[in-house]
């Protein structure tokens, strides 16, 4: 619990200027307006830069970080969080360029994380919103993972379950957690960077799921992350996901955890009747992950 509440929103975008403008509109209408709104542009080739610059002329809170090349969502969140940390923010609201927070979404996150600490003394390492798809149903791919004693502090008026993994779609991370655990791993490029990071933050204490903070994720479809769903279009993402999670498994649980993971992936692909050539790609990615040891960058403490 801190009296310091400077808040920075970090939005990573790539060639989705229309959706990004919707996000910036939603941020402008927040009851808890971030002091800094940092747009991290992953070398977009559309009109993103022009639109953000035009908006920045009337919105002094808006900052623009243009990356020279597309380094993926993971690289974008890494660069954005690092920059926002340097700007001295005490809370970092991290989200995608296609997720529209309800007007009180950020306020509810800040309020929850502070009240949880006031009530229970423990400091949540992050707070995650309820992410809904455009039809109001739960967004499958953004479902946080609960810890075994998730209801420990759940009350009717404060139904905040303990979670140890969440996606980079409307999560609030306090500065102390970044100081303690560093930045997201940029080398993951895409997928599992958010799971790895929030699990890393949870070493201090789990995060909380804040259902009253809601955000709408405007994705083409509402699908979870299941290796049974691999098709030609999504294969590249699944390959990154398999490599990254395999790397994490090897780091945290050693070979037994990695083998168990590979077996689970196989089961999903078998059940999903995934073609053999895709399966082989995924196995190769898992093998790459076994020796993939990306560096975790720490921040310089004040």
């Amino acid at each position: 619990m801190t009296a310091l509440t400077k808040t920075a929103a970090v939005i990573v975008t790539f060639n989705r200027s229309g959706k990004l403008m919707n996000v910036l509109d939603a941020l402008a209408g927040q009851t808890w307006r971030p002091d800094i709104v940092l747009v991290v542009d992953n070398a977009s080739t559309d009109d993103t830069q022009a639109l953000v610059e035009a908006r920045g002329k009337t919105d002094p809170s808006l900052r623009y970080l243009k990356l020279p090349v597309n380094i993926g969502g993971a690289g974008g969140f890494h660069a954005g969080l690092k920059a926002a940390y340097g700007m001295g923010a005490h809370y970092f609201w991290i989200s995608d360029d296609d997720a529209y927070p309800q007007p009180d979404a950020i306020e509810k996150l800040v309020r929850a994380i502070q009240q949880f600490e006031a009530d229970n003394t423990w400091r949540p390492s992050f707070a995650a919103s309820r992410v809904e798809w455009i039809d109001g149903t739960l967004c499958e791919m953004n479902t946080p993972r609960t810890v075994w004693d998730w209801p420990r502090f759940v009350r009717p008026d404060a139904a905040w379950a303990l979670v140890d993994s969440a996606s980079f779609v409307s999560i609030l991370v306090p500065r102390w957690a970044v100081e303690a655990h560093g930045l997201p791993i940029p080398d993951y490029f895409i997928w599992f960077d958010d799971a790895e990071y929030t699990r890393r933050l949870s070493r201090s204490y789990p995060g909380i799921f804040v259902p009253e903070s809601r955000v709408v994720h405007d994705t083409p479809d509402n699908r979870g992350v299941n290796f049974g769903l691999i098709d030609a279009k999504s294969l590249w993402k699944f390959r990154y996901g398999a490599r990254n999670e395999a790397s994490w498994r090897r780091r945290e649980g050693g070979w037994p955890s990695l083998i168990s993971y590979a077996f689970g992936v196989r089961q999903q692909m078998v059940r999903g009747n995934v073609p053999g050539k895709y399966r082989r790609e995924i196995y190769r990615a898992i093998l790459r992950g076994a020796t993939f040891r990306p560096r975790i960058e720490q921040v310089k403490a004040d």
């Binding site: 619990m1 801190t2 009296a3 310091l4 509440t5 400077k6 808040t7 009851t31 808890w32 307006r33 971030p34 002091d35 809170s61 001295g88 923010a89 005490h90 306020e107 800040v110 309020r111 502070q114 009240q115 600490e117 006031a118 003394t121 423990w122 400091r123 008026d157 404060a158 500065r175 102390w176 100081e179 403490a301 004040d302």
Partner: protein
């Protein structure tokens, strides 16, 4: 709205708690520096602390210019207090406000113990071998202890032609400043807490400070009394400013006596105090001679010219001060025992030769000093002994601390989880000792372990390592060697003798009775120190003049 909450009742609760925390700490900080710098123009810079302990205070003199690092993310705000006049000197206090402690920080002062990394494989295979290495390291430190000075620092009396500082007039009742090591669990700390109560009972106003910054988990144990004030110098005052602060406190609060309980900063304040406030009396209490550097008794001896009375808790320390620092009259023994209102008699011991059950007790904070791993191995060896002799075995081990996890793990490994009860620190120890046959105390070092005295009072036989003043309370035949393996073997041998040999058992009982009676004849710490406090409260020096020793003896 930017960076602020809308005013819902729930949010206000969190905000109010934060504000109350900050206001409380700011008031604490200001009370310290407003006293230290009564005339100067004071500027306070407040930062948000990273931990729950340390305020990282920095004091600079002269006009202050903000530098980039001072207004970083942790900058909270600034307050100015004008000096006596606009041209007064400028002083800036840059200090962090520690956050509220997390739950585990208020329950555990230290992280769970793990052996040093290179020796962890050995510790896993043979915990006793690991202990043996640590014991050897302790003995090497003991051999090197002579490197630390045992020469008392001189105190110049000054020449009569120069004026001595005059004692200011005060309309406040006399006060005592009690300096503790910290407000955590421990024998020395228990005495310091007792002293606070005795000083209040004697009519003194009491100021308490601690030398070591910590969460001070036992601060709540200080009595809620209008004449008592805990000042968080440990958290908010740089080391080098302690002497000047103590001088200001002495002058403003009519402090007549400083009582040092293992507080290094107060020892280091003595030169300043002796010269600037020579009317103040200084006493200290010491407990245990550390192997490595002599510990606080050596520090006390080095400062002995600046100290009016050394209170010690054991005969070993009386000898230590005499042999090392050549001190006689101003070293006073005051046992940490309660004088019974009525003469007491000892109950018969429970352990009888040939009995068919054995209940072993261990009571101690689970820090290395008590050697919990050796205690667990001793319990395991006694369980083996009991099995071989057809004796039903159980043990109760009382204590909390960083070794709890390692001790529990070891007992489980030895298959003793069901036979050994691990009990919390607030267990009713006398009741436990009334049920136990023997109590083991395989400590690395002790002053004089009161729990052995308590054990005898409850009919339980203590078996202890031969360290410190343990020979004043434990019969010689029940003192065991310090080397870990020998500790275990000799403890089992002692239990075996008590069990097999009725004459041996009888002899130990007689010896225990003799030692217990002799200890009870010595003055207690309460008698000694209350006497000092009462005399100070009455306006006297505390321990000079006729009748002091006579009163104590009485």
């Amino acid at each position: 709205m930017t960076g602020q909450m809308t005013g819902t009742p729930q949010a206000m609760t969190a905000e109010r708690m934060t504000a109350a925390h900050i206001q409380g700490e700011v008031a604490e900080i200001r009370a310290i520096y407003d006293l230290l710098y009564p005339d100067q123009n004071l500027t306070y810079l407040f930062r948000a602390g990273k931990d729950a302990i340390w305020g990282a205070p920095e004091v600079t003199h002269g006009p202050h210019t903000f530098r980039p690092g001072e207004v970083s993310a942790n900058y909270m705000g600034m307050l100015r207090r004008p000096g006596l006049h606009p041209a007064a000197a400028e002083v800036t206090v840059d200090v962090a406000i520690p956050r509220r402690p997390l739950p585990h920080e208020t329950t555990e002062a230290e992280a769970p113990w793990r052996g040093i990394r290179p020796l962890r494989p050995l510790q896993r295979v043979s915990p006793l071998a690991y202990e043996q290495i640590r014991y050897l390291a302790e003995m090497i430190r003991k051999k090197r202890a002579h490197r630390h000075s045992t020469q008392a620092l001189p105190l110049g009396e000054g020449a009569a032609s120069f004026p001595r500082p005059a004692e200011p007039a005060s309309d406040k009742r006399p006060a005592v400043l009690i300096g503790m090591h910290w407000l955590e669990h421990g024998g020395a700390e228990k005495l310091a807490f007792d002293c606070v109560n005795w000083a209040l009972e004697s009519g003194l106003r009491v100021f308490v400070v601690a030398g070591v910054a910590s969460v001070q988990r036992l601060a709540g144990r200080l009595p809620d009394h209008p004449d008592l004030r805990l000042i968080r110098l440990d958290r908010y005052l740089p080391y080098e400013l302690w002497p000047r602060y103590v001088e200001q406190l002495v002058r403003s609060e009519n402090i007549r006596l400083v009582h040092i309980h293992h507080c290094r900063q107060l020892y280091d304040s003595l030169p300043h105090l002796r010269i600037s406030t020579p009317w103040v009396r200084v006493i200290d209490s010491t407990h245990i001679v550390e192997y490595a550097d002599g510990g606080y008794p050596r520090i006390s001896g080095v400062w002995s010219e600046f100290i009016d009375l050394h209170h010690v808790i054991s005969g070993e320390l009386v000898d230590y001060f005499r042999d090392t620092f050549h001190l006689l009259g101003k070293v006073r023994l005051g046992r940490m025992l309660d004088r019974a209102a009525e003469p007491r008699s000892l109950p018969p011991v429970r352990m009888q030769p040939g009995q068919k059950q054995l209940h072993v007790a261990f009571v101690g904070r689970l820090f290395y000093q008590k050697r919990p791993i050796v205690a667990a191995e001793t319990v395991a060896a006694l369980a083996n002994w009991a099995r071989n002799n057809g004796v039903a075995f159980r043990a109760s081990m009382v204590g909390e601390g960083p070794f709890l996890g390692a001790m529990r793990h070891l007992l489980q490994r030895r298959g003793l989880a069901e036979q050994v009860a691990l009990l919390p620190a607030n267990t009713d120890v006398p009741a436990l000792l009334r049920q136990a046959d023997v109590m083991i105390l395989p400590s690395n070092n002790e002053g004089l372990a009161l729990v052995c005295y308590e054990a005898i009072e409850q009919g339980c036989i203590p078996i202890s390592t031969d360290v410190g003043s343990q020979d004043e309370v434990v019969p010689a035949d029940l003192l065991v060697p310090l080397a870990p393996r020998k500790t275990v073997q000799a403890t089992v041998a002692a239990v075996d003798d008590l069990w097999r040999d009725p004459a041996f058992n009888e002899r130990q009982q007689a010896e225990m009775r003799r030692l217990w009676t002799r200890l009870g004849e010595d003055p207690t710490a309460r008698e000694l120190l209350s006497q000092v406090y009462r005399r100070v409260a009455a306006g006297g020096a505390g321990f000079e003049g006729d009748g002091f020793d006579k009163d104590i003896q009485a």
